[in-house]
Amino acid sequence: MTRPARHRRTLISAVSLATLVALWETALRVGWLPSNLVPLPSQIPGVLWAEVLDGIWLDVVLSSLSHYSIGLVIGSVLGIAVGMAAALLPRFDAAHSWLARLLRPIPPLAWIPFAIIWFGVTETAAAFIISIGVFWINYFTSYSAVRAINDGYYEVARAFGQGGFSARLAKISLPAAAPGILGGLRAGLGQGWMTVVAAELFGIPGIGQRMMEASGLLATDVVVVYMLTIAALYALFDFLFMRIQRRVLRWQQ
């Protein structure tokens, strides 16, 4: 896209978002929407500020970030490792493929009962649930990325004395599968946020728990503050990750 075209696109997006917020505000002020069900957009910054001043905002964000990061790291590392191992080691692939097919369709949230039985209503339980969703995304993308590698590269490796397992892994499998693996990691970043909130709705401290408290008091403005917080955190993580991804895959562009 050319620079003027990109600017025009940004302008159109900004104007349409602003129009939507303005319509929302107007609809509430003239009484088209009931004010006990939806908060006024103009109230949101003030509510956010109050949450920040009370120290609640930082507390719940840090606590969510903590389960999120632990779950994300464990799920991603295990997902990539197991996915790659399955793609590279036919016996391991055969040994676990039925188990994988059995467990894969179970949504991460279905593990909540076990998470609570095993770990209690704790951070560990939240991290466990998050790691499950992240694991499967990374498992499948890594598996298919490694399987899709052109065999010709492995022949080159053998022809140049790099035919050992570790040399092939480091010099071919990892770099050649990197675009797919990084794509999976990025999808996992998003999936992680979805489960983080759901896991906290069961009382594990964090953004989700604060949203449940607020909804019990019909404080819709507080709920919206945290919805926007999640959107902003996700956008920040995704942006940072994209920068890293572009740097690692600069050979592709």
């Binding site: 080159v156 490796a157 022809a159 140049f160 004395g161 040399a167 010099k171 050649a176 050979w251």
Partner: protein, 263 residues
């Protein structure tokens, strides 16, 4: 052991090699010796098993019967053999220089030594200025030159080339053919070169091995070995060139009437 250290001992010896599958033998009774610094081309119709045989010589495939002996690497930090493939098969995630360094990894060289060693063949193929580029930014001919540099970097005793120019346009192919003639004079490697292009074989090789099937259902074998006694830097127009080409064409069967070969 004495024979191996003899400078004139063959760098590659194949005896009674049979290749393929137990119920589908592709090549049989292959005998061949390649002398140090010799350039041997292998020609034959497509599907006759030229590339398969090349891989067996390199040890990438095990023969069903017979044996292949490849002399060991002589100089320190070198390899017994290396290969140039039909498609360049550069690693797109490595810069040009790092691609050339591939075979030098694990030979006990420091990073700086590896860099220096990679730059030598790159300048031989005239690409030292592109050393820090990504492969995708190179033309097909440049990529294949990098493939050749990668193979030369390990200072092999035998350089296997599997139809290295067949995917290139005619002009680039001609340029690389004459570059290869110059390169072999500066390298100590023997070259085993697979091609389906008879003129290319006569242009480049000291000897041309013709692989062909004695009859339709039999496995292919060495039908003839033709010594090309023309001085190097050959041209297609020079006297004697066409005679060699015609002789080889007859052996492969392309000069025979099409009815005979297809029926």
């Amino acid at each position: 052991m004495a024979a191996m250290n003899d400078a004139s001992a063959p760098v590659l010896t194949a005896r009674g090699v049979r290749l393929g599958f137990a119920d589908d033998i592709v090549l049989d009774d292959i005998d061949l010796e390649v002398a140090p610094r010799e350039f041997v081309a292998m020609v034959g119709a497509s599907g006759v098993g030229k590339s398969t045989l090349l891989r067996a010589f390199a040890g990438l495939l095990a023969p069903l019967r017979g044996d292949v002996h490849l002399s060991t690497a002589e100089a320190s930090a070198s390899r017994a053999w290396s290969m140039v493939f039909q498609a360049p098969r550069l690693f797109p995630w490595r810069r040009v220089r790092a691609n050339v360094e591939l075979g030098l990894e694990g030979l006990g060289l420091s990073r700086d030594e590896r860099r220096a060693r990679a730059m030598e063949p790159l300048s031989l193929v005239g690409l030292e200025e592109l050393a820090e580029r990504w492969p995708r930014t190179l033309s097909g001919g440049q990529q294949q030159r990098v493939g050749i540099a990668r193979a030369l970097a390990v200072r092999p005793r035998v350089l296997f080339m599997d139809e290295p120019f067949s995917a290139l346009d005619a002009l680039t192919r001609q340029r690389l053919q004459s570059e290869l003639t110059e390169l072999r004079q500066r390298s100590d490697a023997a070259i085993v070169f697979v091609t389906h292009d008879i003129e290319e074989a006569v242009l480049l090789a000291d000897r041309v091995v013709v692989l062909a099937k004695p009859d339709k259902d039999a496995p292919a074998t060495v039908r003839d070995i033709v010594t090309i006694d023309l001085p190097l830097a050959r041209r297609r127009e020079q006297s004697g060139f066409r005679d060699h080409v015609q002789r080889l064409e007859q052996h492969i069967g392309v000069a025979a009437t099409p009815e005979e070969t297809t029926s």
